[in-house]
């Protein structure tokens, strides 16, 4: 019996309208109170190529990706063979039995539903026949998996609240599949969805929507962006929510501006110009955009202009795998641009944290007067996640950082844009137009003195550069600190993870525990790293660093910036474009540990 613990995968043709039906299935499971993790595995084209939709259902909340398919809904002849091959022994194959298909396996159970036939009989318009096939297999699944049909009916009703005429055909389509299944198979199967309260008050949302929404609540007014998968939906979500929440009721005018720029260089240029002028502005991009934005990032670092940038990482290098996920821009973002530059990075792990970091990110960027890059990825950005509801604290004001107004300018005896008045390396700024006589300065990317005046005096420039390092140290004390997993007293092994890897960690730890391997875990949430990060590493003999790239980029950052002996940091890597699985982590870790070390890890004696 696989109740509330299985992976079901839908194999479709891109552009055939399967996406919404598949999403409806996932949402239905979610609404039955069972945690789900749907993942859309799509090609970099618009129509006609294979596309997959993988849904992990897990009551325990183990929602990281898992290899092995318990049920495959195989709707695409193109990918039929590999799809059938990926089913676990004893698993199910649901397919359109209108067509005869050769099934080369005898260790799986097949469920043939003549979807095309059923739909052709019931519907006449070709496009409908095509679309309702998807709805029909969802119907069949409700019967096979013992799902609450009213939930699905309810969703149909909601979805077409606008156009009631569309409701009945959809219900009919559902029933076509459902009734066929009930008639020809003994439903439910030994694989089921059962009502649960594991979801609690959680929501189902994608990271990019959370980013856009977070920017609305952070008071962002200007967004400049250039389309690129998988970041496009950040700007789209911001626009959607702004149209809902930021349009003046009387005048119908907008309290926001969204510009689709001509390219990424312009997008970040606009965001910088707006922030310089005191509006909160951001941009969102992915790999290639990061490379193009690096010159401007260097300017913002050196001229100390705040700007928030969402990097929804995809498979690199170059154009790479635009529709796959990776964490491979860490080095290029941390040190973006020529010269001695360092940038603040935030690593959210779920949509709720993306929302929080969007808000926190603007505060930090204003406070630190430097670019902040939120390092999301395609998996987090474009897939729906079961995650905690969004919260804000209305009582707190936005932190706009050290900005002087006219009154303050009159009070202080002198204003120097780049003077380190407070010793924290953070100077005071003014917005243009603040004061008729005081506070004006010239922002420049050329070497400048404490009064923002151009200088070629190397010693002065050196002073400015040292202050920037000081400011970067201050950042360490302001950024979100690490989050620690279960801590076994005396464990000599540690594991560091960040971003979307987090979702796989609890499960990985459970798998390792079964193998008698115990590790302390720490989730890094920001760069530069705080003391705690260093302490965690120093207090463990060996620390695994899990990341989704080839070159162990986070490990490099840790070594560089914390002065850690690389020998103590063991890379655990995955870069095939799919989210890393708990099993893979567990295997790489235990493989690395010889029996000896494993014991010692277990009862916590020091070795070496």
């Amino acid at each position: 019996m696989r109740v509330n613990d299985f992976v079901i995968k839908f194999a479709n043709v891109n552009g055939s309208g399967s996406a919404s039906a598949n999403a409806m299935f996932a949402k239905a499971v979610f609404r039955m109170g069972v945690p789900v993790a749907p993942k859309n595995i799509f090609p970099s084209n618009i129509q006609g190529l294979p596309t997959w939709f993988e849904v992990r259902v897990n009551d325990k909340g183990f929602l990281g990706r898992r290899e092995g398919i318990d049920m495959m809904v195989a709707m695409n002849p193109q990918s039929w063979d590999e799809d059938v091959a990926s089913i676990l022994p004893g698993g199910y194959l649901l397919y359109d039995s209108t067509f005869i298909r050769e099934i080369k396996r005898d260790d799986i159970k097949t469920i043939g539903v003549p979807l095309t036939k059923l739909c052709n009989e019931r519907f006449t318009i070709p496009r409908e026949r095509q679309l309702f096939k998807n709805v029909a297999y969802v119907g069949a699944l409700t019967a096979l998996l013992d799902m609450d049909f009213s939930v699905v009916e309810g969703m149909i009703a909601e979805q077409f609240r606008g156009k009631p005429k569309a409701v009945q055909p959809n219900i009919d389509a559902l029933n076509l599949g459902r009734e066929y299944a009930l008639k020809y198979f003994d439903c439910p199967l030994d694989m089921r969805v059962a009502r649960s309260d594991a979801v609690g008050d959680q929501i189902l949302v994608e990271g990019n929507a959370a980013a856009g929404l977070g920017c609305v609540f952070a008071g962002a007014t200007v967004a400049a962006w250039y389309p690129i998968t998988p970041s496009t939906s950040v700007a789209e979500a911001f626009e959607r929510y702004c149209n809902r929440l930021r349009v003046d009721p009387e005048t119908k005018k907008k309290k926001f501006a969204i510009v689709q720029a001509e390219d990424e260089l312009a997008a970040i240029g606009m965001a910088i110009g707006a922030n310089w002028n005191g509006a909160r502005a951001f941009t969102a991009t992915s790999g290639p955009g990061i490379s193009l934005m690096s010159e401007f990032l260097g300017l913002a670092y050196f001229a100390e202009v705040p700007v928030l940038l969402f990097n929804i990482q995809r498979g690199g290098p170059s154009t790479g795998m635009p529709t796959r996920t990776q964490q491979s821009d860490i080095i290029s973002c941390a040190y973006a641009s020529h010269g001695d530059t360092k940038h603040v990075l935030l690593f959210p792990s779920d949509p709720t944290e993306v929302f929080d970091f969007a808000i926190k990110g603007f505060d930090l960027s204003d406070r630190l007067q430097t670019p902040i890059i939120v390092m999301s990825d395609l998996d987090l950005g474009m897939n729906d996640w079961t995650t905690a509801p969004f919260k804000i604290d209305e009582t707190t004001e936005f932190d706009r950082g050290k900005v002087l107004n006219a009154r303050q300018l009159d009070e202080i005896k002198e204003f120097g844009r780049y003077l380190d008045v407070d010793g924290d390396g953070i100077p005071y700024r003014t917005y243009p137009g603040t004061h008729p006589e005081k506070g004006a300065f010239f922002t420049r990317g050329t070497s400048h003195d404490e009064y923002a005046r151009y200088t070629e005096d190397g010693k002065v420039n050196e002073r400015v550069m040292r202050r920037l390092s000081r400011k970067f140290d201050t950042a360490k004390t302001l950024l979100p600190g690490p989050v620690f997993g279960q801590v076994n007293q005396g464990a000599t092994l540690g594991l560091i993870h960040f971003g979307t890897t987090a979702i796989a960690i609890p499960e990985a730890m459970e798998l390792l525990a079964e193998r008698k391997i115990h590790l302390d875990t720490m989730r890094v949430r920001a760069f530069p790293f705080s003391r705690e990060v260093e302490d965690f590493i120093k207090s463990h003999e060996k620390v695994f660093v899990v990341e989704q790239n080839r070159d162990a980029q986070m490990r490099s950052l840790l070594v560089n910036e914390c002065g850690i002996d690389p020998a103590r940091l063991v890379p655990v890597l995955n870069f095939d474009g799919f989210p890393i699985t708990a099993a893979a982590i567990a295997d790489m870790v235990s493989e690395h540990l010889g029996q000896g070390e494993r014991d010692q890890a277990q009862d916590g004696f020091a070795a070496e």
């Binding site: 929501i203 400049a224 005018k253 260089l265 312009a266 240029g269 110009g273 310089w276 300065f441």
Partner: protein, 351 residues
């Protein structure tokens, strides 16, 4: 130390404008350009225009890219904020600044290398977005700061200092601006401030993208015989189609002109520009005709100057985007942050 402050001593009886300010109040720090550089004359014209327009310096933002020309914002309006961005990227920075606060006047200064080469894309898109700003290109047909390479605005007939021929088609920024929808397009000459100052004043009173291509000779690298951007060449080949007089609001126009030879256009701040047609056939409100005119005269190696195209009918960026009237940067948390209830509704919608 290459920053030179000017002595701030004011002669007591310098003329003062309506704000009680003297021209000195509109100056910047000392120019570090070559003696005789055309750019310094443009700086002087900007200072004069702002003085005469009674602009409060802190309501102006100075934007530029990189180059000798892009340095000049340091040399005027010391009390204005300035942003010397990166090479060719000023238009995007100005666009963002503009969206954040449309109550400032934006004066962008660029060079022909900065705008016609590395910045061509950004320039073109700032034009078509109708960003509300004055965009001046100090056009000397060369890369001054990097010591005299050809720029893309060089005419095909022009020859380099060392006799290099320029085989490539030149980019005429005026034609590009007209074609891509700039609503105010003019060409001036750094050597003629009587023409340039009113053009700058009119441009600053105009709402929308105002472009002025100022031929501003580089005395060090491109003022030789073969250059078509030299003082001499421009003096010999200048063909002025319209003379523009700037008429402040509430001021009477007295002078009388022969029928049909003048056009009065009222600008957005109710000031007016009076166009004296020096070529009766020319219609500065007809894009297609204007373009053809440019091409035909340039083919004759003429440098067409004056206010070349004016359209007060189009909207500017912020209007096109339906943005609230108050500057976005003036909105407070109360205006911007939705309530907890609103957020709860959103959460509910995601269950």
């Amino acid at each position: 130390m290459t920053y030179i402050t000017k002595p701030s001593f004011h002669h007591p009886n310098l003329p003062r404008n309506e704000l009680g300010l003297t021209r000195r109040d509109y100056e910047g720090s000392m120019s570090t350009l070559c003696a005789g550089c055309g750019h310094d004359s443009v700086t002087a014209a900007i200072i004069e225009a702002c003085f005469e327009l009674n602009l409060p310096a802190h309501k102006v933002a100075k934007m530029s890219g990189i180059g000798c020309s892009s340095k000049t914002p340091t040399y005027f309006l010391l009390k204005s904020h300035g942003f010397n961005s990166v090479h060719g990227r000023m238009p995007s920075v100005a666009t963002g600044a503009n969206l954040a606060n449309n109550e400032l006047k934006y004066i962008g200064v660029s060079g022909d290398g900065d705008t016609a080469s590395i910045g061509f894309g950004q320039f073109a898109h700032a034009v078509r977005r109708q960003v509300d700003m004055l965009y001046i290109v100090e056009n000397n047909g060369t890369y001054g700061l990097t010591k005299g390479q050809f720029s893309a605005t060089n005419d095909r007939i022009s020859v380099g200092r060392k006799g290099q021929v320029n085989a490539f088609e030149s980019i005429d920024l005026v034609s590009i601006a007209i074609q891509l929808g700039a609503s105010f397009v003019a060409r001036g000459f750094s050597g003629d401030k009587y023409q340039l100052v009113p053009l700058i004043k009119a441009a600053l009173s105009h709402k929308g993208f105002a472009f002025i291509d100022v031929i501003s000779p580089c005395v060090t690298f491109n003022n030789h015989g073969g250059s078509t951007k030299s003082f001499e060449f421009v003096r010999d080949h200048e063909h002025t189609v319209t003379g523009a007089d700037y008429v402040p609001r509430r001021e009477e126009i007295t002078a009388a002109y022969p029928e049909g030879s003048v056009i009065d256009v009222t600008l957005h701040d109710e000031s007016r520009v009076r166009l004296r047609k020096l070529d009766a056939t020319y219609d500065p409100s007809d894009r297609a005709a204007a373009l053809q005119y440019m091409m035909e005269h340039q083919a004759k190696d003429e440098v067409v100057t004056g206010l070349l195209y004016l359209n007060t009918g189009d909207t500017e960026l912020k209007e096109k985007m339906d943005i609230v009237d108050v500057p976005l940067n003036s909105l407070k948390a109360a205006d911007l942050r939705p309530s907890t209830e609103a957020l709860e509704k959103i959460n509910a919608g995601l269950r």
